[in-house]
Structures are given as C-alpha cells and as structure tokens.
Symmetry: D2
C-alpha cells in the first residue's frame, strides 16, 4: 500500500529505545502490532504465496513407477501417493493453499487398505484401468476419464485386480482441513470389505439416471451420492454443447469452449462441500478470455495439445500435464488441437464464505 | 366434532326472533358467523369433497377418437383436451381440487397452436408416437413412457407429423391457478415456430447427462430445464432398484416397490413448483402398505395388471386406467403382474406451505 | 380470449346431434372438454371472483356486541367470531379465496376454550384490552396495535380477565386449508391451561431482543416463535423510517410511505408459511402508486383518515374499516391525516409457488 | 497413527541410495510423498498448532497506552491495533489459525482513516466510550458492551470525540482471508465522511425493532445490516433467560448458562459469513460441561470472576481477560460471581464446509 498514498512515517525520534522496548514487551506478551504488518497481511489484491506452476506427466509417471518398485503400499503409509508441492508453499505437499493433488500408483494385485477421514477426496483417471475403489463397501471401477468420489468420512480402499500397474490423480482438501484443524481419521479393514469387480457401482445404478431421483434417496446430502462420474457421459455432454453451439444454441461458456460441472444430484450444487470439479473442452483453435478468479485451481490435461498463459507466461501443454492457477492470477487457455481439461478448485469454499470475485481482462497477447 | 364433546347448545330461548334478526343483519353486511360453520370449515381430519374415482382408458380413448372426428383443433379452443371431472367437485373439469388431468388427442397433420400461461403443464404418454411438442422453440419428440414438461410461461404448441392420431395425458395446475387467481395467458404463433423433428430436444442434449451440469446453466430455475424425461431412463432406473434390492441393497421404497421422482437437476427438487411427478413399479405379487397422505394425486397405469384399494374399495387396474386419490384417503396398490404406474400430485404445494402429513395404516384387508 | 384473435369457430354442421351425443357421453363418464371452458379457466390475466369490498368498523362492532348478548361462547362453537364474507364468493365466510378475516368478541370473564388446528391464525387488535390468549401454555396479553400469532397446530384459547368486552380481528388461512384439504383439528382444555396474566409472554422474553437469538432456539421453525409483536415497536419502527427519510436516507418504500413486515426471526421470512403480515404508515398528504399484485390482501385501518382507490372506485377510510384487495385489482392509498394500516395477505403462498407478479400502473386519478 | 497399528515399516534394504535418489528426484520436481507425512497431515483427531492461551487485560491495556504515546495513527499504518499472537502459530499475529483479535487504542481527538477490505471485522467494547465508528457513512457510537460490525467491503473509520482515550477489541478473519488469498483492500477518505455523533446509527433505527423488517430491506444480505448490537438488549436477553429458567421454562443452554447469538436479521444466521459472535452469562456457582468443538474461538471476559479449564489447566479469569480455545481442545467455564463472556469463533466456516463436530466429555475435575 505504501506505493499508493502518503503514509504517516514514524519519525526518527520515535525510533528510540522506548519504541524498541515497547516492541520487545509486545513480543514477550505474545502481541504483534498491526501497523508494521499491514501491507503483507492485507494487500490491495490477493498476493498468493503459491506460484503458478506446471508439472509434466512425462516426469511424474516415471517417478511414480520408481516409487512402485521401491516403496510398499499398506497400513501406516496407507497410499503410494506423491503430492505436488507448490514451490511457493515452503516445501509442504500442497498444490495450492487449500488443495492436495497427487499421483497415486498401484501395482498389479496391490491393495491400498480401507480408512476414512474428514477430508474430502476424489480420483481422476487420465489413463489406465484395472483398479476398483471400494467406497463404504461399494466397489467402483476406475477407468480413463472417470471422476470417482470419496467424500469426507466414507470408508475407502483400492485394489488392483489387473496385471498392469495403474496411476491416477488424487485430489483432496488436506491442506484446508489441516489449516482449519478439522480432520479426523480412522482405519478400516486391511483387506477390502468387498472384492467384487462390477462394471457399475451400486451408487451409479441407483443415481445415474438423468433427472430421476430414487424415492429411497429423498434426503439431501452434503456430498454427492454418485461414486463415479463416467467418461462416456462427460464426453457426450461436451460434444453436444459444441454441436448445439454450431446449431445456434446458447450452450457453451464462450465460443468454442464447452464445460460441465460435476454436481451433487440431491442439490444441483458442487460434488463436495469444499471441492469443485469441472471438465472443459476447447475446440481446436479456440483461445479463452483472460480471466482472474478468487480461489485456487488445479488443471490436468486429459487430451489434446495446446497451451496456457499463466501469470503472463505461456506453457505448452500435453496429455497428463498438471498446472496450478493461484488466486487472482490471470490465465487463458489455447487449443492447438481439441483440448480436454479436467479442473478442480476450492471455489465452493470461496463462494460459501462470500469471498468470490472474478474479472475478465483485456487480452495481453 | 359434535360427536366428541359436549357442546354448548343454543337454548330454545335464544332461537328467537332476535337471533334471527342478528343473522339477517350479518347477511346484509356480508358477514357469516363461525359457530354455525365450524364443523364443515375445520374438520377433525381432511374431509375432501373430491371423491376417489377411476376412469377407464377403454372408455376414454374411444371418446377422444370421436372428439377427433367432430371437433377441430386450433386457435381459440387451443387444444382437443378432455378433462377428468371429479364427481365430487360439482361438474368442474378438476380431477382433484388442485389438479387438471385430461386426455389430449391430435390427428395426423394436426397442429395445436402455440401459447403460454402461468399454469404449469406436463404431458405423459401411455402409448403412441408421431407428435412433437415445441417448447420455447425447442421441438420435443413424444413417445410412449416419456414425461414432457412445459413449465409456467413457456410457449408451447404440438404437431402431429405422423399418419396416425396420437393421444396422451395432460397434467396441469389449472384448478389451483384458478383458485389462487394467479393465471396469465398469452397467444403465440398459430403455426409452430420450429417444425423440425429431431430425436432429442436441445434441452435434453444440454441437460440429460447424469451428474453433469452445463456451465452455461449455473443459474437455478424454479422449474426443470429438462423438456423430456425419456422412458428408457425411467425403465432402467426402476429395473436397477429391483435388482439392487435382490442383491441386498436399500434401494426401494418398500419390498418389491421401486420408485423414482422426476426432478429439476438445478435443485434436486420437484420438476415444477406445484406438481410432483413420480413413477412407481411393483414387482408381481407385491402389495404396498395402506397409506394416507395430505394432498391429492392422480395415477395412471402404464403397464401391467393389478388393483388399487382406494377408500376401502378395491378396483381392478389395466393399462391406461386413471384414478384419483384425494387428500387423506387411504390407498394401497397390488400387482398381479409387474405393475407400472405414473403418478402426479400437488405434494410440492402441501410441502412448501408446511401442511404435509402422512400415515401408514394397519392393513384392513 | 375470443376478443383478441380469430378463433376456429365450430361450424353449424358440427353442432349436430352427434356432437350433442358426444358431450352427453363425456358427462356420463365424468369428463369435460377444455375447448368450451378455456376462457373462464385460463383468462388473459387474473379475473378473481372475489370482489374489492369495504366493511365498516362502525357496522361491525355493534353487530359483534349484539352477538355477545345473544350467543354464548364455548366448546362446540369454539369462538364468537363473525367472518367477512366476500360478496363474490357465494356466501361463504371467506374474505378472499384464501383468507379468513373475522371480528371476534369476548365479554368480561368469558373464556374461549383451547384447541389446535393445522390452520395458521393471528389476531390483530385495533382497540381494547383485557384479554390474554394462551398459546401452548404461554399467556399472551392482547393490547391495541399488537399482532398475536397462533401458528398451525399450536394449542390456544382466550380469556377476558377485564370488566369490559373486547373485540379484535382474527386472520386465518381457513379457506386455503379447506380448499387444499389439509386441515386437522383437535380439542384441548375447556378451561385454559394457564390463567396467569403477565405483561410479557415467555416467547417475547426469549425472542424479542433485536438481532439476538437464544442458543436454546437455534433450530429454524416454519413459523415465528414470537407470540406477540407489540405496538410500541411497530410504531417506533415506522416513525424512524419517516424520520430517516427526512434526513435523506433510503428507508421508506416510496416517499411518505413507511412499512414493516412482521417476520420469523429464525429465518427473516414471513411469520407463518401461508400468511404475510405488514404494517403501513402514510404521512399526511401522501398518495401511493397505483399497484397490481398477484395474490389477495385484507387491510384494516388502525388509525388516521384517508381513502383507498380500489378497482377504480375511491372509498373513504376510518379507524377499524377493513377492505379486501383481490388478486391483480389495482389499488392506491391516500392519507388525509397520517394513515396507519395493518395488512395481511397470501403472498407467501403466491411466492412459494412461483406465481408472483406485480406492476405499478400509471396513475389514473 | 503409528501408535495404533502395525505399520509396514520400510526395511533397511529399502533405505538404500536408490530410495534416497528417488526422494531427491521428488524434491527437484516439487513433489512430496504422502507416506512420510501422513501422521502430521491427517491426524486421528484435530491436533492444532495453535495453543490454548490467556492474555491478561491488566497487561494489554498498559501496553496499548504506551503505544498511544509512541505511535501515531493515520494513513499507512491505518490502525493502532495490537494483535494477539498465538504462541503456537510462529509469531504471526493470529489468535487462532483463522481469527485475528487485537486491542485497538484511540486517543482523544484521534482519527483512524477510512478504508475497506474483504476481511470481515467487528469491534467489541469492554470499557470506555467517546468513539464513533463510521460505517459506509453511518456514524455508530461505541459504548461498553456493544458489538459493532463492519462486514467485508464496507468503508469504515473511527474517531474519538471525547477527551479520554478509548480501547476496544477488534475481531477479524484476517488470517483466513490471508490463507485463502481472497483479500482486497481500498483506501477511503482520510478524514471521516460523517463526523456526526448520534446516539443511534441509521442502521439501528431501521433494523433494531424485534421481529420487524423494513420493506425497503427485503433483499437478504450475506452479513447483518445492523451496525451496532447494544449492550442493554444483550443484558436484558440474558437476564430474561435466567429468569425464565427459574420459572421452569427451557430457555438456557444448560442449567445456569444463558447465551445469545448475534444474528443477521435478514436470515436468522450468523452476523457475517466467517465469524460467529455470541454472549454467554453464567449464574454464580455454575460450571459448564466440558466441551470439545471443531473450530477455534476467542473469549473475552466482560464482567465477573471465574475460571476456565482449558486443555486440562485451570486459569483464573477477570474482566477484560482474553483466551483462545483451539479446535477440539476441551474447555469448561466456572463462575465464582455471575460471569459474562463475549465469544467469537470461526464456526460459520466450519459449518458451511460441513466439518462441524462437537462432544461433551465426562468431567475430569
């Protein structure tokens, strides 16, 4: 703020021993004055410590494979998950201040034992198959393009029944829950409670009929009762939006940019109270507006090729690449080929606490 | 109420000319005393004027066909619709105090012109095909088993492009809107604004992907944005519930009784603010509990054979038959064969005004 | 609608015996065609049967006094209440299609026994004192200017502990509950459960502290937990609005027109699910805009002198006079002296069912 | 978690150079494995870094007075506020992870200039008078026992018109806004926009009438429109709860423990989206249950004498003392004399994100 106004500068005379004594007495009483901290505490606009950053799938996957060879999975460590650690966040395993994003790796016949925790979690599968995640006893197949939910306090474990390893992305609100001191954790079965491998989970069979709600499920729930959002539905929804746009309907977010939000069918709102999940598709040649949004996001390229302009720097993007958009950092997407991106963010937190703002900038390109 | 307490009976002395003069003076001032009306106005439990009643499809359809031959459809009369007139409601075309239910009939190449009104409407198709309803310019195919919505103040018209006549059921809140004096009406195009006959409406292509919400549709709406709820989805949802029940899951309303509610995907609530729509399937041999519910319903048999015990009387049921359950009248369903029923009701009105009650009775059979 | 478009008139040829036979067959099957009824069923804008009407306090009160002399109050008749019967509503005791409004009269030492019902009720006191209403065992003093609530299914009775009779206005949703078939009724104690006469009810002592909510009352309730809204608060709120307006603040509805809505402090919404209650004060010389609103209202003049233009006719108004504004009938108020009006309406019904509309007309005066 | 189960310990063989190389490669790619961090990241129950702590008013006030003599107040530093720095939170000026609590001090004739920020703020006055805070142009008197709100993005400044200094408590969500990167800040007028010193603010005159809502304020707001919650109302509400309890009503939280929540009258919910404010009164001799709650709180003793058992340690409490209860730390209050406490917390954050839990422990005393 100093740049913008004439401040009341303390005079040299005030910088006396008396003031130093006062500050020392503050410290010994566990007190801190506002006037020496204001600029950092209350900036003119969000000044995130988290940095815009890109992680390459081509570097992540080999490291996960090496971990698969060296580190067992099982009770105690619980998961063979390797987290993105935003370089602005002091080495902690936080992709953004609120969000955890990790690559998880499970070898053939391996099992990640059951547990539950307050933290909300999902998996998104950029490639591979062969793993079932068991959510409160309901086995859920994991396949490319699927979003799988394990909302807070649902028991869950994973097992690979295939003969090939599988890797996917985990997203959680671990940093938020840690920050707010709200997390509880409980171990479940070491082996999974249900080792069946059905094509569809019970939750999908009960809930995945568009516009239909079972009368046995009339109570609204804080998180979605759908354990798996399948790729064929997502793909079709996006394809239809682009076709509808071609036919003259108002179906897309902006020209050439189709997008869906994964929602809780009992409310029409976000899948979980702290995490928003979306899928975006850009027609080849499309460039989005340059946006700023309060709150932080993680994107993963699902398919195609293009780039992101992120805080003024352009980064090429390929399948599996992950990037982070911290709060209020301007970003735009550009599609060379049709570009498919999965996105998750802390937008529900920002919106529920009434801090949401966004702005579309004049393009700087 | 007189049966339950000793009342303060007016004495013979009070039944004097003086009292008669008072009552006459009330009348001339447009006043009515409570004490002479209380029993009728405020009964111990709902005492509906509407009667439980069954209309036979085998009688309705031939009458609709005769109307098709004799009565043109077009501007002014607007629709060739023949309404169920509950025998307890004084000859008015009201299936229940709040609900309109009619059979509508459209011959080959006929058009019902566009209009809009505050009243909420739907169609449900028990048989046939060949008609498209055009809702705010979006053509919507009508086929057996589909539920089609035209919420309040959406323009809509119908045209039959086939070479056979088609009949279906209309449901509206006409009586309620008339009672509350809330209705507006406006004519639209005489010919339809869009004569295309696509397999899927734009609304379905945008909205009918389970658990996915378009980012272009993030504003919640009072009524569902889905114009058509297709039979294959409904059928599959019900089939899965019965299968899940067999596998030991809690998926049905009661043993052998699967049911879905049609919902607004932006909220998870009812499709329209005044009308609830549901579909029920009973496994062959199932008999439901005997229920009383505040609020009134209309059922139509979609398929199968069975019966309903309605206010103490059992009625055989066949495909297309319609019956009315007035408020607080006990009813139970019995399936000889697998029995499929469409249901609509004024439950959203009752619930939004906080009058809902229900009770399961000990069976009387 | 016929006035507005060229209709498809049935030809003379169609008016044959065949058509007559069809209509007769409809009737015997309890069916009614839409095309002969549309104009009345679905008018271009609300065409209420209820009529704008004014009842004079100077006529009502003497009639109530005569009833006090002739008709006992007690179990069976329950209340000595004389209802406004809108001349458009066929002699039924309905002020509007949804609302009951009555003058209730209780002589010295008389008791109206306890009962409860689904119907929501309130009393508003235009003059007098000496009666306590006991709501779920909590005695509530009734004084001039107070609004007293007895929401659906709360036990309530009244007793006059003074040596003078007292009259007041009752408002209920009796017609709505009767129409919807939602009403239950139960007798309570013949004598009152609590004959104390405290200045303030327990409900007020717990809830009437602005902006403060007891931690023992954190569960939201469908109706307000406040049993009495006291005149001194209402008066002060209105006085402050007019003063704030003079000081340049945006505090009034329109210039010279102060107004408050009585609300449920657990939600900020209407006091009961079906009834809105408001108080309006017009500065001397103020004339309001000419408004149309969907839904029906009853006003009572609390103090002052002025007039209402109601459906094109101007009526002089004095203390205690009651008038009805049916749906969509234009009305404007004019204050000769400062004019205070109590108002209640079915607006919550109209709004919850998404039928609300309003319009300000160009003045016609 | 290690204490509770047999974990899969990495073998000595695995602690090879290969694993070290893998970990080094993780680090250079900004990756962190879960399995080495799980215990700290996801504890069995909340393990807050923040510590239970007590600050003594007798130490705070003299330090604030010394700051008054040495540090000017004005543009740039903005406020002479001295923040509680929880000793567990690394020297940052955070009372808890989410909440800022400071003593602010303003000398005679001093002005704290106007600004606004996304952060939600309130002041609570434990003693003194003479300062007006000007909120969006509305001057608000500050007196002992008052709670004064300046919700996010409202302009506000303070000026002391008396001849004595005044000190009070500021509460904000600064740490939360900083953590989430959601804060914006804007300077306003250097001198205040309105230097009037009315007894009541316009906001109070419009909104502080129990159960009454101005028709000019029908739009719900995220934060309360009431700028000042006055002590006489709070005191009376608490006094009535204790009296009602004596008379046999269910009015208190637990025996001898009266409490009110300050609420937004447009919704009945918390005063601001991120901060809950309450006032608690314990009858002399009362001891509360030992509670654990998810989320963090700050208490200030307003009057009386007693103690708090906080994380197993008992602390004597006197007027003005502040203490912090971190998440899930058990606490109980004990009143020697009647004990009055103001409390604020991040409970709305915890509840809106669906992380709330609480537990009453068997007493350990």
């Amino acid at each position: 703020m100093k740049a913008h106004v004439e401040t009341v500068e303390p005079t040299v005379e005030q910088e006396t021993a008396e003031l130093q004594r006062l500050y020392a007495d503050f410290a010994s009483e566990h007190l801190v004055p506002l006037w020496t901290q204001l600029d950092e505490l209350m900036p003119v606009s969000p000044a995130p410590a988290a940095r815009p950053w890109v992680w390459r799938w081509s570097r992540l996957l080999p490291l996960a494979e090496r971990a698969g060879a060296l580190v067992p999975v099982g009770r105690g460590g619980e998961r063979r998950a390797i987290a993105l650690a935003n370089p602005g966040l002091g080495g902690r395993p936080y992709a953004t201040p609120t969000l955890w994003a990790a690559i998880q790796y499970l070898g053939p016949n391996e099992t990640a034992p059951e547990h539950r925790h307050s933290q909300n979690a999902f998996r998104f599968v950029v490639e591979g198959e062969g793993v079932w995640t068991v959510v409160n006893g309901d086995p859920v197949r994991m396949s490319r393009g699927d979003l799988l939910l394990t909302p807070g306090w649902t028991f869950h474990g994973h097992h690979n029944v295939g003969d090939r390893p599988m890797a996917w992305i985990d997203g959680l609100d671990i940093p938020l829950a840690h920050y707010l001191d709200v997390g509880f954790f409980e171990f479940g079965a070491d082996r999974l409670t249900n080792r069946a491998t059905p094509d569809l989970s019970a939750s999908e069979r009960l809930w995945c009929h568009p516009g239909l709600r079972p009368l046995s499920g009339l109570q609204d729930t804080a998180s979605s009762p759908i354990a798996a959002y399948r790729w064929p539905y997502t793909d079709r929804a996006l394809r239809e939006q682009l076709l509808l746009e071609e036919e003259g309907h108002a179906a897309t977010v902006e020209p050439g940019h189709a997008a869906v939000r994964y929602v809780n069918p009992t409310t029409g709102g976000d899948v979980m109270p702290t995490i928003r999940a979306e899928f975006h598709r850009l027609r080849a040649g499309t460039e989005t507006a340059l946006r700023r949004e309060v709150g932080s996001s993680v994107f993963q390229v699902f398919d195609g090729r293009g780039s992101v302009v992120l805080g003024g720097t352009e980064h090429e993007l390929e399948r599996g690449d992950l990037f982070v958009v911290p709060s209020w950092v301007p970003y735009a997407l550009r599609a060379e080929q049709q570009l498919d991106l999965f996105r998750f963010s802390d937008a529900p937190v920002v919106e529920r606490l009434h801090f949401a703002r966004s702005r579309i900038e004049e393009s700087q390109r």
